[in-house]
């Protein structure tokens, strides 16, 4: 028996974001709005960029609106118009990514019009989008969400999402892996990474993977094997996790989009946990000019150094 999660506010939220998008586009406050629209499949949603006030009616918010749209504002995706101010629909988790990008000089707050979403959660997977949001089907990130209501947005619908207490799966899974021996963990990850096909969906949807040329695409020198063999896959995922350490804001898009179901966000959550313990850093809603790995304290732990 799975418990449904109340998403009844989503239709009112949809109306509110349509209204706001319509207003800011028609008043010329923004040149475009990045949001979600319904797609062909029942229950499905996909990102959309609208430039006309009339198109505001296409915008929706449903449990299938899983994407972190922040990815459309980073440099890697140059096709999105970069002129003028842009409106963007953001869930709390997405907002954390935008904030991170501001700290990394990729975005300026004044160039954005943030339309916040009061969010009770979204689906873990949209391979089959026509699903009810339940205690089982909800994304793992939503189980640990602390920003159901994004703050500091230019517009936030007034609806209050219900936020049932759910057990935290990442924390439990990390704890489970931590109790294993190194050899057992190695085996676990080896199996997971062996499925990897290097489609780079994890990289491409990540708002923080904004490098124009990924280290892992370079071949002079070849730091990481580019072919989808077990060795190259392992190296890629380790490098990816390290590059996101202290930056990842936890949107878990990498994990959601992985066609091979590799639990990628586990690595990111583990690093987030460690950086919190080591350096008291946590991705949040405050723009942080220097991330934990771009700064230091003379008093940092060095118990691991002989």
């Amino acid at each position: 028996m799975t418990h449904a999660i109340d998403t009844s506010i989503y239709s009112a939220v949809t109306d509110a974001i349509r209204g706001e998008a319509q207003r800011i586009l028609s008043e010329g406050q923004v040149s475009a709005v990045v949001g979600y629209a319904a797609a062909r499949r029942k229950g499905s949603a996909q990102p959309i960029v609208i430039n006309q006030a009339d198109d505001a009616a296409k915008l929706i918010f449903t449990p299938a609106c899983v994407n972190n749209l922040a990815v459309y504002l980073t440099k890697a995706k140059k096709e999105i118009p970069k002129t003028g101010k842009i409106g963007i629909v953001v869930k709390g988790c997405d907002l954390k990514a935008l904030v991170g990008l501001m700290g990394e000089s990729q975005l300026k707050r004044e160039n954005l019009y943030l339309i916040g979403i009061p969010c009770a959660g979204v689906l873990a997977s949209t391979i089959q989008p026509d699903k009810e949001l339940t205690h089982d089907s909800i994304a793992s990130k939503c189980r640990e969400c602390d920003v159901h209501l994004p703050t500091g947005c230019d517009f936030l619908p007034s609806q209050q999402p219900g936020t049932p207490e759910l057990e935290k799966r990442y924390a439990a899974e990390i704890a489970r892996l931590e109790t294993m021996t190194p050899a057992e963990r190695w085996k676990y990850w080896k199996e997971q990474f062996s499925k990897c096909i290097k489609c780079y969906a994890c990289r491409q949807v990540c708002p923080f993977c904004f490098c124009e040329q990924c280290l892992c695409d370079r071949n002079k020198p070849q730091m990481v094997e580019t072919t989808p063999r077990p060795a190259g896959n392992f190296a890629w995922h380790v490098v990816r996790a390290m590059h996101l350490a202290g930056r990842c804001a936890g949107c878990a898009e990498c994990e959601r989009v992985c066609p091979m179901d590799i639990p990628l966000n586990l690595l990111n959550r583990k690093m987030a946990k460690e950086l919190k313990e080591l350096f008291e850093h946590e991705a949040g809603l405050e723009v942080n000019e220097k991330g934990p790995l771009a700064s230091f304290s003379e008093k940092d732990d060095q118990s691991f150094i002989k």
Binding site: L177, E178, P182, A183, E184, R185, W186, K187, Y188, W189, K190, S194, L215, M223, V224, P228, R229, P230, A231, F234, A235, H237, V238, V239, A241, M242, A245, G246, L267, K270, M271, E274, L275, L278, F279, P292, L293, S295, F296, S297, E298, D300, D301, Q302, F304, I305, K306
Partner: protein, 166 residues
């Protein structure tokens, strides 16, 4: 110091990433003081531990290192003011990641060795070499490097043999 040379079944390959100002100089001092230590370590010199990219450690293991040492100036002694502070954070995080993916951290040693600490260099290198020697070869990365996706694997024994011959 003339210790009877012991024969070991397994001699580990140890790669050391060191900064030029402190640890490299400390290793030089060990040399000028004619201290003795196992011949397993290969030293790669960097200007500063701040230059040492975590990927190098990964690469070293992938290239067959059984143990890796990263060593630089003590906090506050960095020739470049703060490079070792940055390195300290970076490696504090990276070792946690390696541990989480199943690398036994006994194979990865970090140390501060100053230009005056020839003795400490010898101690660190000897300890790591002996520890890794006891642990045996780092099989994980070597095996991984040999593995193929099933579809590309050449898994008939005679073909594998022919392939291995060159």
């Amino acid at each position: 110091m003339h210790v009877e040379k012991q024969k070991h079944d397994f001699e580990p390959k140890i790669i050391a990433f060191v900064c030029t100002w402190c640890t490299y100089a400390g290793a030089d001092l060990a040399g000028t003081s004619r201290m003795q230590y196992p011949a397993n370590v290969r030293v790669l010199k960097f200007p500063c531990t701040g230059r040492i990219d975590p990927v190098f450690i990964l690469k070293a293991f992938q290239q067959g290192a059984d143990g890796v040492l990263v060593s630089g100036c003590h906090p506050g002694d960095c020739h470049y003011i703060a490079g070792n502070f940055h390195a300290r954070r970076r490696f504090a995080a990276f070792r946690k990641l390696l541990e989480f993916v199943g690398v036994d951290l006994n194979r990865l040693q970090f140390s501060w060795v100053s230009a005056a600490e020839g003795g400490k260099w010898v101690e660190v290198v000897t300890e790591l070499t002996e520890r890794v020697r006891d642990m045996g070869p780092m099989q994980e990365f070597k095996e991984l490097a040999m593995e193929e996706q099933w579809s590309g694997a050449i898994n008939t024994p005679e073909l594998q043999e022919a392939y291995n011959q060159i």
